[in-house]
């Protein structure tokens, strides 16, 4: 077991930073802690690194209890959000610092550092100072500083949040590839759902210091277990109403609308969810399809590769996304919405 967190809790005065959080991370796994700011994800990360003293619970790394070890005895690598490179040391010296403390001999230090720099494409930068590097380079040096020590766990605290969008998307893929190659168990803190979805083996969704759901990206996105997860990850249409059974089928009634939903015991639930990209917009007078709902386009947002429409369906506003195929629907146009029962879920 790479990392095992057992019922940890931390309060700051009256504020609960995290409560009863438990998590098992397998060797080599990439796990994201995802949640809005203030959800306790950074507290958990800092507790693993040893910078937060816990009120309750235990933390194990490779079955060793590290709960009360000082930060320098944990062999847990932390990449800081602001990178925290030492400004008075060159890239090489930044990387050598931890190795020197461990008593690694200078020739070995040089070999390890040059290997890591080459791996990260930083080979030419060893004599530079942090202020002479771009944001992306600084980020990679911060990563390299952890990797040279071969940590048992790699902790990343929103490492991409200070980069511009293009670079961020690029670094996501690079970081994921690197993690696969190095095989290091990784805990990644982010508030960016796209980041979590695209990089993680599993995602831990946190809210107000509690774990709300743990699962693979697909699982989290397709089958959220509660309204918070459904709303926080991706966009979603959320309609309040009532589930009814008729002729062995289940329907959801919202105002005058009745939408067919997957069969099952849903009587206690009063909220219907479906993703905008699963709503098909059909043109024409009487197209064929499931759950056809007539509506009129209220608003259109151009997203480049796609359009987002807000459609008035008998007083209820439904958001629908469709790819940009070159013939967008005009505002005011009358359309039909198709929502397949299997794309609906109730919470």
């Amino acid at each position: 077991m790479g990392l095992s967190i057992h019922q940890i809790g931390k309060r700051y005065g009256n504020v609960v930073a995290c409560a009863d959080v438990s998590l098992d991370v397998q060797d080599g796994e990439f796990i994201s802690l995802l949640g809005p700011s203030g959800c306790g994800k950074t507290t958990i990360l800092r507790a693993i690194a040893g910078f937060v003293t816990l009120d309750a619970g235990r933390i194990f790394v490779n079955d060793l209890d590290i709960t009360h070890l000082p930060p320098n005895k944990r062999n847990v690598g932390l990449v800081f959000q602001n990178y925290a490179l030492w400004p008075h040391l060159t890239v090489f010296e930044n990387l050598a610092f931890g190795l020197k403390i461990r008593g690694t001999r200078p020739p070995a230090i040089r070999e390890i550092i040059l290997g890591t720099l080459t791996l990260l494409g930083l080979r030419d930068l060893e004599t530079r100072y942090p202020r002479e590097l771009s944001g992306g380079q600084q980020q990679r040096v911060a990563l390299a500083r952890c990797l040279v020590l071969k940590p048992a766990i790699l902790l990343l605290d929103e490492p991409l949040s200070n980069l511009d969008r293009k670079l961020r998307n690029q670094m996501r893929i690079e970081l994921k590839k690197l993690q696969r190659r190095v095989g290091v168990t990784t805990l990644y803190v982010t508030h960016d759902q796209e980041e979590a979805l695209s990089m993680s083996d599993r995602i831990v969704v946190l809210d107000h210091g509690h774990v709300v759901q743990v699962g693979s990206p697909e699982h989290i996105y397709e089958s959220p277990q509660n309204p918070f997860v459904a709303d926080f990850i991706g966009n979603v249409n959320m309609l309040d109403g009532q589930a009814v059974q008729r002729d062995g089928k289940s329907y959801f009634r919202v105002g005058d609308l009745e939408i067919e939903i997957p069969p099952g015991n849903v009587a206690a639930k009063s909220r219907l969810f479906f993703r905008p990209e699963r709503v098909a917009i059909l043109r024409g007078r009487s197209p064929e399809g499931f759950n056809l709902i007539p509506g009129q386009v209220l608003f259109r947002v151009y997203l480049g590769a796609a359009f987002r429409y807000e459609i008035d369906a008998g007083g209820i506003v439904i958001t629908a996304d469709s790819t940009n195929t070159g013939s967008p629907i005009q505002v005011g146009e009358k359309v039909f919405l198709e929502i397949k029962p299997e794309d609906c879920f109730l919470l």
């Binding site: 690194a49 040893g50 910078f51 000082p70 930060p71 320098n72 005895k73 062999n75 847990v76 690598g77 932390l78 800081f80 602001n82 925290a84 490179l85 030492w86 400004p87 008075h88 610092f97 931890g98 403390i101 461990r102 202020r131 500083r145 952890c146 020590l149």
Partner: protein, 300 residues
């Protein structure tokens, strides 16, 4: 965008061309009147001759300087003593200022305000009052010795004053608040995450301080020690009240020559030598530190 592009140029043009220079005039006039003119006059007077009975006689002679250089007492017992005491007290005050400065940097709220006020309070009190307080504490049968005798830590009263040790101690005491102030500024620029990063890669608290916090706060230590060094080289009240004739620091000797012996030209020469010596020390100090740290940190 255009504005931000233009501003560095405007700043570069600033000296000389801008009407803002006029705003500097009062300061320049003040400095000229009360600093440059008296200083030039002192330098001029140091070449005058002293005729016993007469006050001083205008001349252009090097005899005052010759006397200073040829009489070993002035070089060894006064000038060298001054530099030694000033350097030791400056170094000690920097070392001793680090713990309170670190403590203040890491504390917050009321505790921080309390600590700040306690460290800086001595600056609000006249130095003469401080020294009188010091005398009450440290005189032969003062509080300090009574405590030490009462605890049987010493057999007879310790001679805290009227020697070089006592003067050095008092100078350290007076310098510490100045050094703390300049250290605070530097230490606050040391991002806590730099220290955490050091702990994260395996450094213990002491290694983190020595390799990260200390080098990154060197600019503050430098400016603090510059202030302390200048204050201590020119120390006057402390050696006067706590040292007496046994600690003839140069400022005191210049005063004695000028106002007690009435040999103003010789007093002026001592002052000029003191000025040159302290400039030299500060110059060397800066050069050494620049070579060691500042170049690396690109501190302008």
């Amino acid at each position: 965008m255009n504005q931000t592009d233009a501003s560095p140029q405007r700043i570069r043009k600033f000296p000389g061309r801008s009407p803002y220079v006029l705003l500097l005039l009062p300061a320049i006039a003040f400095l000229a009147l009360f600093y440059l003119i008296p200083l030039s006059w002192i330098i001029r007077v140091s070449f005058y001759t002293h005729v016993p009975g007469a006050y001083m006689v205008p001349a252009f002679t090097a005899q005052n300087y010759l006397r200073l250089v040829t009489d070993p007492w002035y070089i060894r017992n006064s000038l060298w003593l001054t530099l030694k005491v000033a350097l030791i007290s400056t170094l000690a005050s920097v070392v001793l200022a680090y713990p309170p400065a670190l403590l203040i940097t890491r504390s917050t709220g009321k505790l921080r305000r309390f600590l700040l006020v306690s460290v800086l309070a001595p600056l609000l009190i006249s130095m003469v009052c401080l020294i009188f307080g010091w005398i009450v504490m440290f005189r032969g049968h003062g509080l300090m010795n009574q405590v030490l005798l009462g605890l049987h830590l010493v057999r007879e009263p310790v001679q805290w004053m009227y020697n070089t040790f006592g003067v050095t101690l008092a100078l350290i005491y007076i310098s510490i608040p100045y050094v703390v102030i300049s250290l605070l500024d530097s230490l606050q620029r040391v991002d806590p995450s730099w220290e955490e990063a050091a702990r994260n890669v395996g450094a213990n608290g002491w290694q983190t301080f020595l390799k990260i916090t200390l080098p990154l706060s060197i600019p503050g230590a430098v400016s603090g020690s510059m202030i302390a060094l200048t204050l201590n080289i020119c120390a006057f009240a402390v050696p006067l009240l706590l040292g007496g004739e046994k600690v003839p620091m140069a400022g005191l000797v210049a005063y004695y020559q000028a106002l007690e012996v009435n040999n103003l030209p010789f007093g002026a020469a001592i002052s000029v030598m003191l000025l040159l010596a302290s400039l030299l020390v500060i110059f060397v100090f800066q050069k050494v530190l620049h070579a060691l740290y500042l170049k690396r940190m690109e501190v302008s």
